[in-house]
């Protein structure tokens, strides 16, 4: 089946080129010695050094990380709760309305979400800073978590929970000891999704960030308006590296788990 064909090879090359050439160029120019982004003047790690000395960027990176961890954690808790109620709650008054409202932020233009949150924060007199960005990111990433978790819960065998109740668990214990460990992969990928969304959000963050707290995407975006600095190339390269390592680790771990499970099942099949 695996025959080489010029058509396949060409489409593969074109596809990868389309996806990765911009990033490769960015990585190459991050090692450029020249101050001019588009002129190659030899290899250097100078911009990485300068980046470490740039307080503003480091502050923004720290804020971004804090916001991402906090908002994705809160969003995961709330999103999982919402998913559980929607899949498990049976029919209750306003169920359709509730599920519609949870999924609305998925299709809502970010500008509108950001603007409405800004109006809310001004209305209740909340000073804009880390807290407001966390709240805003939680609001929009929660629906992604609940989509991921509820799709897992739909295929979850209800009798497992009933068995837990039958063996003496309270409903909360049944969730903690049986449901949660089993749906954990979905919850974790929901968290990762929320984390990534928060990490690279620009629009909502720029509505809800204040002078005291700026996230990295805002910082990058505003410094680009003053011209692209090679420092930004270096920063972006670091981010690409982090994401690549993360994605590779996650896929290797899950691949190993599935291989191990397959091996166990085959062993069991032979034993019978």
């Amino acid at each position: 089946m695996r025959r080489f064909s010029w058509f396949n090879a060409t489409s593969l090359t074109l596809g990868f080129a389309f996806l990765y050439i911009p990033m490769i160029i960015l990585i190459i120019f991050s090692f450029n010695a020249s101050e001019l982004v588009t002129v190659w003047a030899g290899f250097s790690t100078r911009w990485y050094g300068e980046l470490l000395g740039n307080e503003a960027f480091l502050d923004a990176a720290w804020v971004t990380l804090q916001v991402a961890v906090m908002s994705s954690t809160i969003a995961t808790v709330l999103g999982t709760m919402a998913a559980t109620v929607m899949v498990r709650g049976g029919r209750f008054m306003g169920r359709t309305l509730f599920s519609g409202m949870i999924y609305a932020p998925l299709v809502m233009p970010e500008v509108i979400t950001g603007l409405s949150l800004l109006l809310l924060f001004i209305g209740i007199g909340l000073d804009r800073g880390v807290l407001t960005i966390v709240l805003a990111h939680t609001t929009f990433s929660m629906c992604y978590v609940s989509v991921v978790v509820s799709s897992r819960l739909v295929s979850f065998d209800r009798s497992l929970e009933e068995a837990a109740l039958d063996l003496g668990c309270s409903p909360f214990e049944a969730f903690r000891l049986v449901t949660l460990p089993i749906i954990a992969p979905a919850v974790i990928s929901g968290w990762l999704l929320a984390f990534t969304l928060s990490l690279d959000d620009l629009v909502i963050a720029s509505f809800t960030a204040g002078p005291s707290a700026t996230t990295l995407p805002i910082k990058i975006f505003s410094s680009i308006r003053l011209g692209v600095s090679p420092e930004i190339n270096a920063l972006s390269t670091i981010m690409i590296a982090i994401v690549t390592v993360g994605v590779l680790t996650a896929s290797i771990v899950s691949k190993r788990a599935s291989v191990a499970q397959q091996r166990d099942e085959q062993a069991a099949a032979r034993a019978t």
Binding site: S159, L160, E162, A163, A164, L165, L167, G168, D264, A268
Partner: protein, 374 residues
């Protein structure tokens, strides 16, 4: 050693473990259980038998506490169970899908209920080991559910539900996923374990053979009602309706009109044919429509008219189903009525006297048939 027969249902002094009192369960407009009253006694192996949708699973889920009756009461040892949630009941259930926790080992699955009961660690260890021994799973204690076979999973589920030593164990189609041979072995294993532990078992099944094998009493259900409750032998030999007769095993049903005669009735079943006679306790009025139920193995088949038989009729063999140990002959009576007669194949196939298109005589005794009024 003479054993006294286990039949608490005949003892007016015996206190039932479970009492259904006029229980009705509705799901919206659908009535799953219709005004049902039934007692189940301690140490019974009680089978709920019926086609899917007859309400047997609903009855079981009400016992476990996953559903509450719409009307009526369920009592366990005299206590009304309506307000008691599933986790506070001395009732455990073995699920049809087994519902083993995939993230826990066999050992932890069995220990799960004991841990919830805050049992001290050494006692848990001892109890789990005892359960592993009982179900012959010692070697698999450290495996995960997906690393063992279907039969082993079924035993883990049983061990887990027995570990808390419940007053009542509910088994929901426990052997449905096993192949025929393994199912038979497991049925005897279940009976053995039930005897050893003295637990009351209520089993839900749609497999009549399974119910007959394991149960001390069988309840045949239809559309939310129990049609008959009796020992397997009674259900088979003395069904109270055509539905039960037809559901349990193979049966010939002959419809006719009854005329009192001697200690039973003559049943006219076809014009120009001599009526069949049957002894019965059933009271019928003169000329009432009734049904004669005759098991195929109670019908003799011969080429010559048997001397002194109570009921005889001639017919022609249309079909023969050879089952190895038994053969079932499909015999067409005058008027087109088909009757199944079964004989044990005590002789080799080549020596058999009967074949297709043969004219044969069927015969049965006056007590071989059952007269039913509905």
């Amino acid at each position: 050693m003479a054993q006294t027969e286990f039949a608490p249902w005949n003892d007016p002094e015996a206190k039932p473990l479970i009492q259904f009192k006029n229980v009705t369960k509705r799901f919206g407009a659908f009535t799953a259980i219709d005004d049902l009253t039934q007692d189940i006694y301690a140490q019974e192996f009680f089978a709920l038998l019926g086609p899917s949708g007859c309400g047997k699973t609903t009855m079981m889920r009400m016992l476990a506490g996953f559903e509450n009756p719409t009307e009526g009461q369920i009592l366990l040892s005299g206590q009304n169970m309506a307000e008691v949630p599933p986790n506070k009941r001395a009732v455990n259930m073995m699920f049809q899908s087994y519902a083993l926790f995939p993230h826990l080992s066999v050992w932890d699955n069995i220990a799960f209920g004991l841990r919830r009961a805050r049992m001290p660690k050494p006692e848990i260890d001892a109890r789990v080991d005892e359960m592993l021994r009982l179900t012959r799973l010692e070697k698999f204690a450290k495996r995960k559910p997906h690393q063992i076979s279907g039969g082993q999973r079924q035993r883990v589920a049983l061990a887990r539900s027995l570990a808390k030593a419940p007053k009542l164990l509910l088994l929901d189609e426990p052997l449905g996923a096993l192949d025929a041979k393994l199912r038979q072995d497991t049925q005897f294993e279940l009976m053995d374990i039930q005897e050893k532990t003295g637990t009351t078992f209520v089993i839900v099944t749609h497999d009549q053979e399974e119910a007959m094998t394991v149960a001390s009493r069988v309840a045949v259900m239809d559309e939310g009602r129990i049609v008959q409750v009796a020992t397997p032998a009674e259900i088979y030999e003395a069904p109270n309706t055509v539905y039960v007769a037809d559901f349990i095993g193979d049966v010939n049903i002959i419809e006719g009109a009854a005329t009192p005669s001697g200690d039973g009735y003559d049943i006219a079943w076809a014009e120009g044919q001599a009526p069949f006679h049957a002894k019965t306790q059933t009271k019928l009025s003169n000329g009432q429509r009734c049904y004669l139920a005759i098991r195929p193995e109670k019908i003799g088949i011969a080429t010559e008219k048997p001397e002194g038989a109570d009921n005889t009729v001639q017919g022609k063999i249309i079909d023969i189903a050879y089952l190895g140990n038994l053969s079932t002959y499909h015999v067409e009576l005058p008027g087109g009525k088909m009757i199944k007669a079964q004989t044990a194949n005590t002789r080799r196939l080549s020596r058999r006297a009967l074949t297709w298109e043969d004219d044969v005589w069927l015969s049965w005794t006056n007590t071989g048939s059952v007269v039913l009024d509905r």
